[in-house]
Symmetry: C2
Subunit: 372 residues, 2 copies
Amino acid sequence: MKKSPSMGILGGGQLARMMLLEAHRMGLNCFVMSSNADDPAAQVTQQWVEGSIDELSQVLEFAKSVDLLTFESEFIKPEILAELSERNICCRPTAKHMRIIQDRLSQKQLLEKYSIPTSPFFKVDQFQNLEKVKESIELPLVLKARLGGYDGKGTFILRDWDSSSITQCKDFLNNCTHGAIAENFIPFTRELAVSVARNENGDIAFFPLVESFQEECRCLWVKGPANHSDIEALKAKLKLLLEKEEYIGFISFELFESDSGLHVNEIAPRVHNSAHYSQNGLSLDQFSCHLMAISGIKLNHPIALSSGFAMYNLIGSGNEEPDLKCEKDVFLHWYGKKENRKGRKMGHLNAVAQSPELALEKLIEARKEIKL
Amino acid sequence: MKKSPSMGILGGGQLARMMLLEAHRMGLNCFVMSSNADDPAAQVTQQWVEGSIDELSQVLEFAKSVDLLTFESEFIKPEILAELSERNICCRPTAKHMRIIQDRLSQKQLLEKYSIPTSPFFKVDQFQNLEKVKESIELPLVLKARLGGYDGKGTFILRDWDSSSITQCKDFLNNCTHGAIAENFIPFTRELAVSVARNENGDIAFFPLVESFQEECRCLWVKGPANHSDIEALKAKLKLLLEKEEYIGFISFELFESDSGLHVNEIAPRVHNSAHYSQNGLSLDQFSCHLMAISGIKLNHPIALSSGFAMYNLIGSGNEEPDLKCEKDVFLHWYGKKENRKGRKMGHLNAVAQSPELALEKLIEARKEIKL
């Protein structure tokens, strides 16, 4: 029997795991490459391949065995992306798009190119770059490593020009091996997110606007649908970006809401924590949507299955034997990680209800029952 | 990290596959035993064990490696079930329940015991049993092999006493190595089904009544929710049966609707084709529900996510290269079977809509797009 084009996922964490579960459902032919046989994604398939996504030769070897490559995250070495591009290896999103978005500088420039509101920024390679413009800078200033930052890692907030802050800032910049950017701190009233997918035929599927809440720089919960008077205008701009750039795949935009409207904070060129709710809240979940987008399947706009939905991350405490028993009417999604480490995303809960608030309430109650 | 009690599924077809996908989601520790490494269930786990469910020694070996056994189907050799019972191996449903329900004679007696309406029946070991009561029998008469029948296999309808019918009937009975039962043919107006699960704490979760449609003795579609004035009375009796018998797990009842009300046609002590719709139509799908029931997790009543839902089986034609592309807003569930054989269940489609009829219509349209 003919198989569908084979897809290879680089990386074996929870995002790849949930992608594979949907691939199984839809009968798509997916392989996954990761370092350990007990990685979350490796557990759920017989098509796991051992290999490091940081080793060019292993990535190329894996690429040869599949029709197209996709990525669990944007943390792929730039030189590997360059090589994939150079060799015309079919990647979705393309290696070029991954390269642009993984680098906070070119990511910002991409937003500027399409007049998408985002905090003003400038390039910072060394502390001197800041000192020179000290007089014109308004504090706090957010410094972000150009490559590799996530969940608050790779970010430093400069709040003062005292010597201790300067030392910390210098240390931070020294650790940014690929440089950093500085941007104005946005005094946000809410954090929001919107996701969208596009396939090669130009079908576009927007996911609803949602509100997200971060604790210790890590997403704790998401609820939706959310509203904002600027969202339709923003979506039109995002659509234009995807079309002009011919982006293929799922993509998420983290947003800040402030008195001056919606601003894009960060882009993730992949499935994203802020859209996990879609597994139970929508007629189309982000994981199958990404796979459909990259394999050219028609995309329909997802429909909300309920007037409210929410997601709550299960973050490891590192000191409890997990007990997942929960009597509430919620959906548990567990990642199968071997070790309950403090601060680690171990799984998440989804719920639907008559309103976003009621869905979130259900999850907060359910979370209390789970020992983690 | 402590794992949940390990469960072992005997059998590696699509039902085991869909169970495993839910086990992954919920972080339950499931193993599966089947004959081939490319069986539908084997493809979606690294916890596949090679073995034949017809070989006692292999079943016992597998049982030793897990905390409890469960079954993909009731087609387990009676002597193997007897041995599992004898050795007090933890099975859910119990080997005793599997034994009672797999045999159409004791299954019928179980229904009688709880005064659950079902077609009158009697035991038939050889043709003489029929001849003796010929005068009092009303034709057509449905003969069913006591063991191993499904999708019309193991069933013979005696419509006449002519010599050709008698020869066919004798041939049929000769092939029924464990004997047969005869039951009156019920002139049904609709076929319906209802499923329910019970855990060891006594939680009971009823799934909605649905209508099913068979073509060539094989389920073609299911739509729901359906209504019938007798359903609440019937559910009360089924509940009593589960409670008194201390049944644990998911169980489905195929029903006939006739002028005289609802009759139970057959019982399946497992997840069932008639409840596949639950994967997208309800807040709780049958596969996770079964796993929750057998591992003692609290069961909540499933809530319909829409006012209508439907399921349509994808039956192989044996002569087409499958092409699963479909532009409709439906959910594809594919079983990963290696060969597109005529009459084989290759996958199914689910849809939700404002009414059962609209959901079914969506599926009929979607089915036209799929080449199989």
